[in-house]
Symmetry: C2
Subunit: 222 residues, 2 copies
């Protein structure tokens, strides 16, 4: 593997594990046992590394959220979309953690990320539209559908931060992909009131599979 690719891979790994803020170009070079000078031969700075990693992330999610135009959507499709989006969030989990800082530091990234968000929102909205066509959820007015899509997006992108901040244990590796996917339970909760009678039971069963197993945060509340 080329050094350039190794730098991208190690950076992603270190960012995910210890947070982008805690990882400098020195750390990345040291982790690869190359000189800092060598790293700077391949990348102008840390921002450029992050920008390339974001482009991978973007490509991955765009690929996942490619909604078929030629056939109706199924419950299995919806499950796949949800699973995939959380897989993507997991693989690039450093990204949302420091999102605002990253966008402030790189105008290209800000522009691209804004477009990315809009594509994701449009995809979610299209999924809702097709779920309605398939008779899985009730059909909604355009206006409600986009407000709902936005709520789905907010829940999805904030779920990991919730897990990392609301749980007792800290330290790296304290979060698992399984826990992350319990966010699907929360997303399906949003859909519950809109399900058709025909599909309600099936979705409730599906949702049950993602029910958080850990002691529920609220159980410990005052």
């Amino acid at each position: 593997m080329k050094t350039r690719d190794k730098i991208l891979l190690s950076s992603l790994e270190l960012f995910n594990e210890r947070g982008e803020r805690n990882i400098t170009t020195n750390h990345i070079a040291a982790h690869l046992a190359i000189s800092p000078g060598n790293l700077y031969y391949h990348f102008r700075n840390k921002s450029d590394i992050i920008y390339e990693i974001f482009q991978e992330y973007e490509k991955l999610v765009d690929y996942y959220l490619d909604i078929p135009e030629d056939r109706p959507i199924t419950l299995e499709d919806m499950t796949f979309y949800l699973e995939s989006v959380f897989d993507g969030l997991w693989s690039y989990r450093f990204f949302h953690r420091d999102l605002e800082y990253l966008l402030d530091s790189d105008p290209r990234l800000r522009r691209d990320y804004r477009d990315f968000t809009n594509r994701c929102l449009a995809a979610i909205s299209r999924i809702f539209g097709k779920l309605a066509e398939a008779g899985i959820i009730q059909s909604q007015l355009e206006e409600l559908r986009s407000a709902m899509s936005l709520n789905v997006w907010l829940v999805i992108t904030n779920w990991m931060a919730f897990l990392k901040t609301a749980h007792a244990s800290e330290g790296p590796g304290s979060l698992s992909l399984t826990e992350l996917k319990q966010g699907i339970y929360q997303v399906l909760t949003l859909e519950l009131p809109y399900l058709t009678a025909e599909y309600r039971e099936r979705v409730l069963v599906l949702r049950e599979k993602y029910r958080p197993t850990l002691p529920d945060a609220q159980g410990e509340a005052v």
Copy 2:
């Protein structure tokens, strides 16, 4: 005003405007025209400043979310809770931006914030309970109510990040309290399907007041 309090106030101001990550103890001292040595006379380090600011924030929100036990809740109460929570988020808006890093750097803060989250979730859940008692929303099973409360929390705490990342303009001061409060529109969207027939119209009117005025992000999508 005592120097100690000035440090807290200036720190909050600088953190909010430029982000905690971009503000060092040197910046704070310079902004107050005091020496760094003087700042360190009053606080052991930046973490201690942040911890005290968090305690103010916590106290403010706890005060806002004090739910009356002796009387039914009204729509006006609910509006007040929503407005207040967004006021709090606004005044201490630096906090959620770097939340994960802050909690990683200070175990006290992690513990306190976790408890704070749980108290907020419990308060939201209690509000739902009282809204049902007042005949504003339908009564829900405990399990659904806590999943819904969590979704409300996720939407509230992520709304600002969405605004700051999905909008075109960056730079400080590009976000206003009015825009932030449009998050209330999103929260009320979550409640829509559960409203009683009697109250539906009134809540729709209320919600309309918070409808985002800016060009809708999705309108620009592919």
